[in-house]
């Protein structure tokens, strides 16, 4: 257990360097014009940032109002006994609810939680892991089935949401196990 944590904290120092160095090296090996390709891809950065603004605004302001009104404290206090029984902190509930519905919106939840609990908080780690480990189920279903005009989705929603639920809960447990 302790050794496993050690290994992870050791290996985690190499994750970003592996991407930063590995991708260009692999590209060079595959004779890709790496510099031009990088710049071409990086141009998208501005577009992505601008594209998520309306989503961030929509969710952040609503969540901020919810917090400021005292409703968030009320909700968290109310759900704590229930979620506490399966040792899930009630603070991550907004993420769990919004994750399957909106991708950029749940990124807004991460932003909100960093603001409230601080970047190093275990709650933020949980929320970020929840964000990273599941997809925007309803969006994926809408786009893929919409593309071919399938309306009767049968067990797709059930399977997708069940996978989300298990993914979200395991994210909480795994983070607590690694950093708790």
């Amino acid at each position: 257990m302790e050794t496993f944590r050690e290994i992870i904290s050791f290996a985690s120092a190499f994750v970003l360097p592996a991407i930063l160095v590995g991708f260009p090296l692999y590209g060079l090996y595959k004779r890709v014009p790496v510099y031009e390709t990088f710049v071409d891809g990086a141009k998208e950065g501005f577009n992505v940032a601008v594209r998520i603004i309306p989503y961030l605004v929509a969710i952040l302001f609503a969540i901020a109002m919810f917090r400021a009104s005292g409703a968030m404290d009320f909700l968290i206090a109310g759900l704590r006994p229930l979620l506490g029984a399966i040792s899930i902190p009630a603070e991550v509930l907004p993420m769990a609810i919004l994750r399957p519905l909106t991708g950029s919106g749940s990124a807004a939840i991460v932003v909100d939680m960093i603001n409230v609990y601080g970047e190093d908080s275990i709650l933020v780690k949980m929320a970020a892991t929840m964000f990273g480990s599941t997809e925007t189920t309803f969006y994926v279903i809408a786009v893929y089935f919409g593309a071919v005009g399938v309306k009767k989705t049968r067990h797709a929603v059930a399977a997708g949401l069940l996978a989300d639920l298990v993914g979200l809960i395991s994210a909480v447990y795994i983070v607590r196990w690694l950093f708790g």
């Binding site: 970003l16 950065g45 952040l60 969540i63 901020a64 919810f66 005009g149 067990h155 690694l178």
Partner: protein, 336 residues
Amino acid sequence: MLNYIWVGLIVTSFAFALTSDVTDFTRDTYRNGTPLPVALEFDAAYDSEARRQPARVRIDGETYGAFFNTDARPADAYDATLIRTAEGVQLRLDADADLPHPLGTIRDVTNPRTGQLQGVLSALAADSAGIAATTTVRFEPVRFVKMNAISQAALDFAETAASIALGLIGVLALFLGLLRIAEAAGVIQAIGRVVEPVLRPLFPEIPKGHPAFSMIVLNLSANVFGLGNAATPFGIKAMEELQTLNPTEDTATNPMVMLLAMNTASVQLVPPVLLLALMGLQINQLIFAIILATGISLVVAITAAKLFSRLPVFRASDPNRLDATRPDTPTSPSEG
């Protein structure tokens, strides 16, 4: 559904704020307009002509509790300044004093910029030496605390949202550039060769050599590398190919549901670019947690898609069985 949750958040906030403000109003939580008795102490003798004079404010705990009907108690003494203005003598407590409820709220609402609690003093009754005095102080009225708080929060965070998003441009550009290199270097195809044999048993309904399967492989491989933009076109192409195998027009087949379930579980070795940008170096620590959690959810997605397809209700709606002559006979390849 998102529509209801979103409106729900906003309307609930309003309802909570309204309830809280009406409660404050009926209970007179802030004693608007009623003067609070305080004792003042001066280092130098009180000078009724001085424009500014430092002072210490003492509020009796029992008086305070009875006045605001609260269990909170003020600190022993607060440093303050007396300022002579046209409206009378103003008492201004030093910024960021540790104020009890509800004085702290009164300060935050009436003077959020300077962080100084201020009120107007009534006539001062100084002792003979002029270094101690009793008086009363009247604070600015406080109304609709929560109503103002939710409006302020909405405005503040709309601004925060935009500035955060713009602050992400650089890091987003960095990772999108790196991912473009990976894409151009054929990482998707390389991963595809590895995962192809693993994926084959999950899609028994697709005939060997059908283009649908290779599209599925590309779609899921692109997901593994966090190449969401590349994954979606492959996914849509896969769905179109799968639709050619679909005897009906509007009903999902088992391989379609499997593809969807695997996409919603989103196995990824590289976390979403947006998360990378938001968490910065912290992502280093989280990456194993993310891979682990996403792996678990993938297993659940696959199992659920397989098992649910065998439930009577979904078996009955399977397009590949609808046109079968004997629907009860397990002839579909999904049984294999």
